[in-house]
Every structure is written in C-alpha cells, then in structure tokens.
C-alpha cells in the first residue's frame, strides 16, 4: 500500500505544480473585456511585429464600447491546417490573419465566409473600389471577396550602392546588368566556395522572376495552368544557370548559412565594421528589410563608423524587354472570417479599423509603426505616412510597386497551396541538378498542377458548395 500511496501522492503533487505553472505566464491575459463581446483574433506575428499588432488591438478596443479584440499569437508551421482543424472541430476563432494562398480553397469549401455574408453589400462594394488592385487580387476568388487584405509584401532588389560604385557598376535595369554585377563581384567560372556573392537567385522566387520575365502561371479565362511557357522557362533557365555556374551544392550550403546568421541579420549587411560588403551585394527581398537597413545605418553612424549606402530598385527585365512595367510577385496578409465563428460582426469592425477604412490615420499609424505597405492610396496619402516615407526614402519604391497593375499573386484558385508547393519544388529540382531538363520539369509541374486543379473543378461541378 505504501508504494501506491507514494505514486498517488506524486501524481497529485504534479497536478498542484501544473496548476501553479499554468498561472505563471499572464502575458496573454490583457485587461478584461468588461462585458463587451469578445473577438478572438489569431495571427502569427512575433517579435517587434507582435507589439504593433497588440497596439492596433489596444487602439481598436479604446475606440470601441461594443467589441473587445483579444489577439492570440500562433507562431509555428501550418497555421492554415490549424485553422481548418478548428473549423472542422467546431471551435474556430472569429477572425484570422493569414499569408498563405488558401483563400480560394477555404472560400470554395465554405470554411470562411464571403464578405457579403457578414457585411452590408454596399460597404463591400465600396471597399472593393477603395483598396489597391494588388490587395484586391489577394482577397478575391471567382470575383467575390472572401477576405480583406491588410498588408502587402512586395519584392524588389536591394543593392549595396557603395560596392557597386567601387566596381563602376550601376543598379541593374536588365537581366544582363544583373549578370554583370554577379560576374564582376564573384566570377562565374570558379567553383570554389566563396565568402560573398554579387547576386544569386533563390529557387523559391520563380514566382517573382516568372512575372518579371512577362510570364503568367495560370490563365484564368481558360482555367489552364500555363507554367511551361517561354517567359517562365526563360526565367527558370536563367535562375538555374547560376546553380550551374557556381555549383548547386555550394549555393545550397551558402543559402543555409543565411538562415543561421546571428540575429537573422539581413545578408546584404556587412557583418564586421571593417567590411563594406555583406554576403551579397544585390539581393531580392521584401519591404520589411528597409527597417533593418535603417537600424544598421543608425547604429554605425552613432558609433562613427563609415557605412555603405544602400538602394532599392524594381526587378530588372530581360534584355528583349517585357510588356510589363514594375512587374513582380505580390504576397500579403489578409483577414478571413471563419464559418461558425461566434462574433463575425465584431471581427468585421476590427478588420475595417485595421486597414484604415474606418479611419485612414489609424492605419497610417499602424503602417508607419510596423513598416507595412498600406492597402489603399487613401492611407498612403495620409500626412503621417508621408512623413514616414520622407524618413525612409527606400520604402517609397515598394509603395510605388504596390500601386503597379503588374504585381500578381499566386493564382487565387482552389489548390493554390499545391500550386505553390509544386512550382517551388520544380524550381528546386532545376537548381539541385545541374543537368536537369528544365523543359521537362516545367511540363511535369504543369500537368501535375492541372490534374490537381481539375479535381477541384469536379468538386465545384458537383454543386456541393454552399451558395
């Protein structure tokens, strides 16, 4: 009996310890909602961004007497699967912020509600006119809005102006300019490992280069996947040529090295005070790096260390020209409103507040705090955001790009996640194997994606989708 008692004793003391520990972290229990109806809001931001998110929620809560938003940080992988499980499990949040291309899938299957179901139709129509093309594309499926885009991710080329000037190089306007930069700073014909490169393409960015080369991945009018087209083939061939020139294994290891840099520092930045050049002199990245560059420059100037000058330019186009100006790949964050949520009304109010539809100056504040691109020109023109742009001139290029009609997202079709995965895997293959037959890789991918999308089409024809 003695030992059993000990065992039971241990179990109970564990329970007591557990109960104590559970109350240890109060960080996620802000002021209480004092009788207002709660809006549970999932997002995946961490670090500095999370403070901005919490601040938006605080400002919204202060502006309100009816609703109370409770932000829940959900870092980690496969948030889209978690949301799907929550809807299927019958306990969804009221509003979710996402940046994976899942809007069409969820819309088609009725996991999320179209905006017209939760908001007055007139208001939805007005918002459609109000937001940027690129933002609308990101939240539309079959001409119907299923979400509200609240932030755009635009890619452009960052360059180290000082290094380029040292070598009498200009910011690249065409692909061959870019090749010249890469070849000058790290000659192509040598396979030894290097400490830094002028430029190397990233296999995950076939989306961006495909659009920049004038290609399209999907033809919405005929519902055909058109991955194996000359512009995209050209883009991938050009990208993979770097893997052949430098050795794909070297590039893979070098890329991994970027990930483990201390503080996840932007690899464009020099690591030591003595250096002017970072791991790259030209690199494609999003607008959030502007913040890193500014912090870097501030830090060096404060210590009186000479700092290189940086610049941003749109993606270069092929020598032969491209029909599109300022083309590229746009991604972004959007709010969606799960079906079965308890408080969609409050969620809608919060989403409007965030994007600045209720009050542009609030969104201008958010965007300047977080370094985010506004989704409407109304917000951009707000004096507060203009001040931000004056202080961060590099950011202006991104805002201009976001207003271009030629910024395209991953096609908004059911199966977009598969679409994306397959394209990126195809590009990875082309990089990984120097002797790969790029034409075949793209053909395979095209066929595979088409089959996948057709399967979803059948589902739609089956008429099981809620009207």
């Amino acid at each position: 009996m003695n030992k059993t008692n000990i065992l039971i004793g241990i179990l109970f003391s564990l329970l007591v310890v557990a109960a104590l520990l559970k109350n240890w972290n109060h960080e996620q229990d802000p002021e209480n909602s004092s009788g207002r109806s709660e809006v549970i809001f999932w997002h995946f931001w961490g670090g500095e961004d999370r403070d901005v998110v919490d601040d938006v929620a605080r400002r919204f809560n202060a502006s309100q007497t009816k609703y109370f938003v409770r932000p829940v940080a959900m870092p980690g992988n496969n948030l889209q699967a978690k949301l799907f499980l929550a809807v299927a499990g019958g306990d969804p949040p009221d509003i979710v912020n996402q940046d994976d291309p899942v809007l069409a899938d969820w819309g088609q299957r009725g996991v999320i509600q179209p905006l017209v179901d939760i908001a007055p139709a007139a208001e939805v129509t007005e918002i459609e006119r109000w937001i940027l093309d690129s933002a609308r594309r990101l939240s539309t499926y079959q001409d119907k809005m299923y979400g509200l885009c609240n932030g755009l991710d635009i890619r452009a080329l960052y360059y180290n102006k000082t290094v380029l000037e040292q070598h009498q190089l200009q910011p690249p306007r065409t692909i061959s300019d870019l090749d010249e930069i890469a070849n000058t700073l790290a000659p192509f014909q040598s396979t030894e490992k290097k400490q830094s490169y002028g430029y190397i393409p990233d296999s995950r960015r076939l989306w961006a280069w495909g659009y920049a080369f004038g290609g399209d991945f999907y033809d919405a009018s005929s519902q055909r996947v058109v991955v194996d087209s000359p512009p995209i083939r050209g883009a991938l061939q050009w990208m993979a040529s770097y893997a052949q020139r430098y050795g794909s294994d070297n590039l893979a290891a070098f890329r991994q090295g970027d990930q483990s840099l201390p503080g996840k520092i932007f690899p464009l930045l020099p690591l030591d005070d003595q250096e002017t050049s970072g791991r790259y002199s030209v690199i494609m990245d999003g607008q959030w790096r502007v913040r890193n560059l500014a912090a870097f420059t501030r830090n060096r100037q404060a210590r009186g260390v000479a700092t290189p000058e940086f610049g941003v330019c749109p993606l270069p186009i092929p020598e032969t020209g491209s029909p599109r100006k300022n083309a590229g790949w746009v991604n972004g964050n959007f709010f969606v409103f799960p079906k079965g949520a308890k408080n969609s009304d409050g969620a809608w109010e919060f989403a409007k507040f965030w994007i600045g539809f209720t009050d542009p100056s609030q969104a201008a504040k958010t965007c300047s705090q977080g370094g985010w691109i506004p989704v409407s020109q109304t917000v951009t023109q707000d004096p507060q955001f203009q001040t931000y742009l004056d202080e961060n001139p590099l950011f202006r290029t991104f805002v201009e790009l976001s207003e271009s009609p030629n910024q395209f997202p991953i096609p908004s079709v059911p199966g977009a996640a598969f679409f994306r995965r397959t394209i990126e895997r195809a590009a990875f293959q082309a990089f990984d194997d120097p002797h790969a037959d790029i034409d075949k890789i793209l053909k395979d991918a095209e066929q595979q994606i088409q089959t996948h999308l057709n399967r979803n089409d059948n589902l739609r024809d089956g008429g099981r989708v809620d009207p």
Binding site: Q28, M74, P75, P262
Partner: protein, 273 residues
C-alpha cells in the same frame, strides 16, 4: 593476445559511448553559450564563459512554464486513465472466467497492427462531435478506454500470479472488484508502475495529439509548444537548445530514478513476444 583483445574491447566501448553521448554533451554546452560563441566555435565542449542567463532568457521568450504545466496535466490525466483502465481490462481478460475473453484478447492484439493513419480522420470527427476539440479531454479521454499494448503487458503479468491467492480471496467472500483491489493491485505494483512510466513518457513526448486536437496556445504542452518556436528562432540556437534541455531533463531524471523499470519494461516486451 589476450591483452590486445581486451584493449580493443575497451576502445570499442569508449568509442560507442562517445558517439552516443557527444550530441547530448553538445546540447548541454551549446545551451550555455552565446550565439557568437556558437558561430565561432560550436565544437568546444566546455564554454569559455558559462552563460546560465540563457535559461531565464529562454523561459522569458517562450512560455515554457505554462507549457510544462499543461504537459504535467496531460501526463497525470493519461497515467491515471491508462493504469486504471488497462488494469481493469487486463483483469477481465485474465482473471475472470468467461466465454468471450479469448476472442476479445485476439481483438486487443489485432488492434495493435492498425497504423494510426487509418483512424486519424474518423477519430478527429468523433472527438469534435463530442465537443472535446480544444480540450485536454481530447487527449486524456481515450486513455480511459485502454491501450492495447499496455493491456497486453498487464494481462501477461496477471497470468503469472498464483491462483491460490485468488482462491483464498474467493473463499473469504470477495467479489471480483474486491479481488481486483485487495489482491491483484497490491501484487502488481511493479507491472503497473511500468505501464504508468511508459504512459508518462509517451504523453510527455506526444506531438501529433496536441497538433491535431488543441488550438489554444494557452493549452499547448511542451512537445508541441517547443516545435512552434523552431522556425522563428532559427538564429537563436542557444535558446532553442536551452529549451530542449529543460524539456529533456525531467525525462532523463526520471530515467535515472527508474532505470530498472525502464530497462526491464523494454526488454520484457521484447522477449515475451
């Protein structure tokens, strides 16, 4: 000749132990270094200056204590559920005389062959229909319905108990429930402890359960909670290592406390089959 073979035996043992323990030592030492030290000299086993601060910093940046609390609740619940249900069931399969038990036991053994993949989706549907989604009961509940492997283990053990004791109990007028509590349980403590220990470790490590059934970060246990930080803390290996050490330590301590139970538990399951 004899000496030479002795020497090679020892060097082989040393080599094997070194290979197996090196990663653990590196985990420990890495958790006490700075990022810079890790980048500059990752292989140095003894850090130049030990940074205990990594641990408080890790505890601050990830809600590890809350996760730990959740893990403990889950572990306790599952251990209670499994030991109770499996002991009852194994008793019914070994010490109660009835016609169906042969077939039922065959079913128990057969169900072990079924990979979890097949039942994953229907189980999820069932759990959410019962309204248990996003509740600890989604994970604890099923343990109250027994686990084939543990039932098997306990049944084999119960069968080795001398029948005379039960006979005497019956003569004293004990019912089956009385026999179970007064005779079987006191005699079976080692076996039940083994089951409890294994269930504890299993729940401690369980990753797919919380991944599927929990959606409130306040309810996440360590195994799943830690995973969520792996990609966002890719540059802070020292903190991830410190968190991993904290996550691992209780299991290692448990192992040293109950080494015999661990080893015997594993080896008997291997041999009995």
């Amino acid at each position: 000749m004899r000496k030479a073979s002795r020497l090679s035996l020892y060097s082989a043992l040393w080599l094997a132990s070194a290979i197996f323990s090196l990663p653990l030592l590196l985990m420990l030492s890495g958790s006490l270094k700075t990022t810079e030290q890790l980048a500059r000299n990752p292989y140095r086993l003894w850090p130049e200056n030990i940074r205990w601060e990594n641990y408080p910093v890790a505890l601050e940046s990830m809600p590890l204590l809350r996760y730990l609390g959740n893990t403990l609740i889950l572990c306790t619940g599952c251990v209670i559920g499994t030991t109770l249900s499996c002991a009852l069931i194994a008793y019914g399969l070994s010490r109660v005389r009835w016609g169906g038990r042969k077939y039922l036991f065959a079913l128990v053994v057969g169900s072990m062959l079924l990979p979890w993949h097949v039942t994953m989706i229907p189980r999820f549907v069932l759990i959410s229909e019962l309204g248990l989604y996003n509740s600890f009961w989604a994970i604890i509940g099923p343990t109250f319905l027994g686990d084939a492997f543990f039932i098997f283990l306990l049944r084999q053990f119960f069968l080795t108990l001398p029948e005379e004791l039960f006979e005497a109990g019956r003569l004293d007028g004990l019912s089956h429930l009385g026999l179970f509590w007064k005779i079987l349980i006191p005699l079976s403590k080692p076996a039940i402890a083994t089951v409890a220990l294994f269930q504890f470790v299993q729940t401690w490590n369980d990753f797919s359960g919380p991944l599927l059934y929990l959606n409130d970060p306040q309810k996440f246990p360590l195994a799943y909670g830690l995973e969520r930080f792996v990609s966002s803390y890719g540059d802070q290996t020292h903190l991830l290592l410190a968190a991993s050490v904290l996550f691992t330590l209780p299991i290692v301590v448990l192992f040293f406390l109950a080494q015999r139970t661990f080893i015997d538990g594993i080896s008997t399951t291997g041999i009995k089959n």
